[in-house]
Amino acid sequence: MKPLTGGNMRFGYYPGCSQISSAKEYDLSLKKVIGNLGVSLDELDDWSCCGATSGHVTNHKLANGLAMRNIMLADHQGLDNIVAPCAACYNRLILSQYETFNHPEIKSEIEELLSTKFEKDIGIFNVLELFMKIGLGKIVENRKRELSNLNVACYYGCLLVRPADITKFDDAEEPTSMERIVEATGAKTVDWNHKVECCGAAHSIARRDIVVDLSKKIIDDAIAHGANVMVVACPMCHTNLDMRQRTMKKVYPGHKEFPVLYLTELVGLSLGMNEKELGIDLHYIDFKYDDNIIKNTVA
């Protein structure tokens, strides 16, 4: 993917519901970091929920309608592209737009539902693509700290890279773009097995037992491969891997707390920002970056 160069780089921004509640630190750190790299985000006016998991698992037409309302707004507001930092929102928006433009019967159904015409394909980017478009050189140029004592397990989860023929930016089984971004901060990355294994996603409340089991396996695999921190790019993954460690400690006695950061927070640390500015203090598992020592204490 070629980085865009010159001028003021601007992207449309679809925050998604988590960014204004359980993942407010992801929103905060994204805006701080992107601003620092000279890029601005224009928030989509009056955006609504993408329909999330609950939409597509119960009503296909409702799911497409909810997602496409936002694509319609982006078009009306003159945006050519939108950044969706939540992997689930990203996936819903990109899949619904793909279905709309590739199945004429779905297109006319959704056009009738929303009383509009869809003509323009809006570019939908996740945060990994955003960094790739900005160019990794920018991170290196602006780096204030080299995070060389961090061994990072890059966790993609399920929805960032699948289905690869529609998301079209990395490999569905062995993606590497996050590693390249993390390495631009000076941190090291580890080779591990669970980078695209599911954390249990939306079952976090109704079947917490499943989420705790799956998330535990992911964390254990990261530790077994030498990681001392995990980096994610999805609010749902973060909730399951960070907050659910509370339950994990009860279900798996002896579980050692393991810090999980948003990718934007890691990049922010390398740009010289502190934990509070980036919202890292809002995590359940504490993480303090010291130039030489990583301190990890109970939340």
């Binding site: 204004i20 329909g51 009503n59 989860g157 929805l159 939306a202 509370r246």
Partner: protein, 159 residues
């Protein structure tokens, strides 16, 4: 559906297989054989997390994750009793918040979910922490044009 030749690769890689009553490829097989009732009452479609691992790995490009969406939707339309009631309650409570506010409202979601399932004590350990860290807003985030979202619900409702 005829694309599936029952190699079982989907079930081998499914992270949730061990919690399901029937392996995902067997749900496809039941439907291929016309045994709809057995497929529709299975817990498998409801436990499917939609992670798309199966769809990514299928050697014959069968989109099983999307197929599971369809199985769930048909089960709901036919009024089949859902084995994973809490999961369905969660989805209903989630969508009710969107219908009311246009965006997710976690406090309302949790309240409605608890009313539906009577799991009153679940998650009481994490909620105070989330309030303390300012993550759970007491007030919902309402969008301006709530009517447009309600209309989407109204026009796509099957009830």
């Amino acid at each position: 559906m005829s694309l599936c030749y029952q190699c079982g690769k989907c079930s081998a890689g499914c992270p949730i297989r061990f919690y399901m009553d029937i392996a995902p490829n067997k749900v496809v097989r039941l439907i291929q054989l016309g045994l709809y009732d057995e497929a529709l009452k299975s817990s498998t479609p409801w436990l499917c997390a939609g992670c798309l691992t199966c769809s990514a790995r299928c050697p014959n490009n069968f989109d099983l994750a999307k197929f599971m969406d369809a199985v769930r939707e048909i089960a709901l339309e036919k009024g089949v009793e859902v084995k994973e009631k809490d999961i369905l309650s969660f989805h209903e409570a989630f969508l009710d918040q969107i219908k009311m506010h246009g965006r997710s409202y976690e406090v309302g979601l949790v309240a409605e979910y608890k009313m539906k399932t009577l799991n009153l004590l679940q998650d009481v350990d994490s909620a105070p922490g989330m309030f303390f860290k300012g993550k759970l807003g007491i007030m919902p985030h309402n969008i301006e044009d709530k009517k447009s979202v309600r209309d989407i619900f109204k026009k796509t409702s099957k009830k």
